[in-house]
């Protein structure tokens, strides 16, 4: 067992940032309910307001609102159901892509079962999605276009800005972007995407699990999914997760300050990783033409992803098969993203996802590559 831990699974989740830990420890005993009239409540509300401002700043937006949710999945559900319900009189058609996360695909499939029509735009074989394909799918009765900013399995950056520009002519179509893999990494991501709704998750950027947010452009109205005490402007009732919100605020602030420099740093690491992986016999890189450096997907046809994950883990290297969320009962299921890209079954089951962190060094990448070469070689000697 290698002494060194090489965690290359940051697209699944990230360790807690020291700055976040510090803020949480300081806030642990501030137990006020933001809805209370007394001072305790006011203190909590103030902490939330500053976190909200930090999230907005990291998104690069002015105006509009940031609604805190329990997770990214909930924010995606709120965006989709909230829009569909509110604007159901405009039409019953939704456009999305075949490579969305299940937290987008499953809500639209549910709506499909309720009589809505959904167009699922296919990706190109290289994992990219063409803006023209998305725009061509929009019809007169389209209510919502929902697409991700960065694909969580391949790292493909989707042409969200181009789609947003194309949708300008159709003012009634709401544009939702699932930005879970972009938030805190792409500078001013929501502004850049031109989104009406933008989804954020805390634990991908060093906040704990259990906090997410949905940005809503000024003037756009959607309906709530959770009804109750009217918190979060009536869009997400339930006593706020104040600690989670504070954590997300701090993580957003840290991410925003360093986003650009870190992107450049990780880009160099990703290039190094790709070059090294390309040298491993039998490896096929799955790099979309425009991709996030934070995610590198590679296929070893004929080997099984699950076995590779464990073989690498044995030497301290942690990676995923496809996405951690695509496991059912912790068992890897065939990736719908890779299948949509037209990959053969043995390519789908033989694909690994490396996802990088800004704290990784060239040394880490080299150490990871050494583990990959040795372990994959060993597996190849058996099959």
């Amino acid at each position: 067992m290698a002494g060194r831990e090489l965690y290359f699974d940051t697209a699944a989740t990230t360790p807690l940032l020291p700055e976040v830990r510090e803020a949480l420890v300081a806030a642990f005993d501030n137990y006020g309910n933001p809805s209370s009239l007394h001072r305790k409540g006011v203190e909590a509300e103030r902490a939330m307001a500053s976190a909200r401002a930090e999230v907005a700043r990291c998104l690069g937006v002015e105006g509009g609102s940031v609604i805190f949710t329990g997770c990214g999945t909930e924010a995606n559900n709120l965006a989709i159901f909230g829009t569909a319900w509110r604007h159901r009189d405009r039409g019953r058609h939704i456009v999305t892509t075949q490579i969305e996360h299940p937290s987008v695909l499953e809500p639209v499939r549910w709506l499909e079962r309720q009589g809505w029509t959904v167009t699922y735009v296919p990706p190109q074989p290289d994992g990219s999605v063409r803006a023209d394909d998305v725009l061509a799918a929009v019809r007169d009765d389209t209510v919502l276009v929902s697409m991700m900013h960065i694909n969580n399995e391949t790292g493909a950056i989707l042409p969200v800005a181009e789609v947003a520009r194309g949708l300008k002519a159709r003012r009634k179509v709401v544009f939702h972007v699932d930005g879970i893999q972009a938030f805190g990494k792409v500078p001013a991501c929501a502004k850049e995407a031109g989104a009406d709704l933008y989804t954020v998750s805390g634990h991908k950027i060093g906040a704990p699990k259990g906090i997410g947010a949905l940005y809503i452009r000024q003037g756009l109205r959607i309906d709530p999914v959770l009804h109750g005490g009217g918190q979060e402007q009536g869009l997400r009732s339930g006593t706020e997760n104040v600690l989670g919100i504070i954590a997300l605020g701090v993580a957003s602030a840290v991410a925003r300050q360093h986003a650009e420099a870190r992107w450049q740093h990780v880009l160099r690491l990703a290039d190094r990783l790709c070059a090294g992986l390309a040298d491993v016999p039998g490896a096929v890189l799955q790099r979309p033409p425009v991709a996030s450096p934070y995610i590198v997907s590679v296929t070893f046809p004929g080997l099984r992803g699950e076995v590779m994950v464990h073989a690498l883990e044995e030497q301290g290297l942690y990676v995923s098969t496809g996405s951690a969320c695509s496991t059912k009962g912790q068992h890897a299921t065939a990736s719908h993203v890779l299948r949509a890209m037209g990959k053969r079954p043995d390519e789908v089951t033989g694909t690994l996802r490396f996802s990088l962190g800004w704290w990784h060094t060239e040394d880490d990448v080299d150490a990871a590559l050494a583990v990959v070469k040795e372990r994959i070689g060993w597996l190849r000697s058996l099959w």
Binding site: R304, E306, V307, M308, V309, H310, A311, L312, E313, E314, G329, Q330, H331, S381, L382
Partner: protein, 393 residues
């Protein structure tokens, strides 16, 4: 008010020392199973166990006892003053309980045992008086002395009388710990936990032996086996799990042996390793979940070739069971939902495309020539770890 529970055991053919050992083991297992209620005391008396509740909830205690191997039935006992009026009222309550469950009145008889010979009425007389009072009570019950729906048992003692009649079936079998110890080859599948449970039911202590082949099987597959051990421990009181690190054996077979004999040789290696663990731990036999003809390695030819490496008895409680029946049992035991979790286990990943269904012993021996059998076995045994599971019920 239920104050006692009578717990009956079967296997009446047991005699002499065997019987005493049976009763002592059973009493100990019962007391252990009831440790959540320290106030409950188990007393051995007249060929049955009398469980003094001392305030513990009768239903919970009975539910727990129904899962203690060796007990065949349980009866809640009403304890009243030793006078006819009080006994009659308790008997009436008993019949009412039955009527509520059956939805209608039935037939009954009364049996009286007079432990206190000072009691003014003789047993038959007392029974007749109590029976007559029950008939007069206007509940609609009728007497049937040959095949009654309910027998109302009355025991008149010195300062109290027992009234009981309801019989709740318990799991049966023999008390765990009176039949020696076995090694159970436990995979994560459906069959082997059931084989283990059936072994416990016949009174043996079970030590599970699991072959772990990380990275070909995951940590989660091992967790699953541990969860299965926990379920077996809930039934049997305690399970030791020996986890054998089997990766080197798997890869050596893969490298040095013909693919079509891979499973046969793997099973032979498992038995060799299990035999060594058995010797260390004083296990008298090995138990497997094999069922004849279920898969390629479970043909008679295959079983014979696999079995040839050991002279320990290999018990196969499921050998003639159909899969559906095994599944039904697994569901009843509580292992099924764990077993069907979809992680790779040792057997699935190395399955050859065309396994030999009728491997001969000589073939297997020839195929193993390139394998350093003794060294591999010794190293695997060396790297085996043990973990213990205690009942969580």
């Amino acid at each position: 008010m239920i104050q006692h529970v009578i717990a009956r055991y079967g296997e009446i053919s047991l005699k002499g020392n065997n019987r005493t050992e049976f009763e002592k083991t059973l009493q100990r297992n019962m007391q252990r199973a009831l440790r959540a209620w320290p106030e409950v005391k188990v007393e051995r008396t007249h060929g049955r166990m009398l469980v003094h509740l001392n305030g513990a909830p009768a239903e919970d205690v009975m539910a727990r006892l129904a899962r203690v191997f060796g007990l065949i039935s349980l009866s809640p006992v009403r304890v009243v003053a030793p006078d006819l009026q009080a006994i009659h009222e308790a008997a009436r309550a008993l019949l009412q309980d039955h009527q509520r469950q059956a939805g209608r009145p039935g037939t009954f008889k009364v049996e009286v045992k007079r432990v206190n010979k000072q009691f003014p009425l003789r047993s038959p007389e007392a029974a007749a008086r109590i029976g007559a009072a029950l008939l007069r009570a206007g509940m609609g019950w009728k007497v049937n002395v040959h095949e009654p729906d309910v027998t109302v048992y009355v025991e008149i003692r010195d300062v109290e009388a027992f009234v009981y009649g309801t019989k709740v079936p318990a799991v049966g079998g023999l008390p765990v710990g009176m039949s020696g110890r076995v090694g159970l080859l436990l995979s994560g599948g459906i069959d082997s936990p059931v084989a283990g449970w059936l072994s416990l039911k016949r009174g043996v202590e079970v030590e599970a032996i699991h072959f772990h082949s990380f990275p070909f099987t995951s940590e989660r597959a091992l967790q699953k086996v541990e969860d299965l051990c926990q379920v077996l421990a809930n039934w049997g009181g305690r399970i030791h799990l020996h986890t054998v690190h089997f990766t080197e054996v798997q890869t050596a077979i893969r490298k040095h042996c013909p693919e079509e004999l891979g499973i046969t040789i793997m099973r032979r290696m498992m038995l060799r390793i299990a035999e060594r663990i058995a010797a260390q731990r004083g296990l008298l036999a090995l138990v497997t979940g094999e069922s004849l003809g279920q898969v390629a390695s479970q043909t008679l030819e295959s079983l014979r070739t696999i079995n040839a490496v050991t002279c320990l008895p290999v018990l196969r409680p499921l050998i003639s069971e159909d899969k559906v029946d095994i599944i039904r049992r697994a569901q009843a035991i509580g292992t099924y939902d764990i077993s069907i979790l979809p992680y790779e286990d040792c057997c699935t990943l190395f399955v050859p495309r065309n396994p030999r269904t009728k491997p001969r012993v000589e073939e297997a021996e020839a195929a193993e020539r390139a394998l350093e059998v003794d060294k591999l076995v010794a190293e695997a045994v060396e790297r085996t770890t043990m973990k213990t599971f205690l009942s969580a019920w």
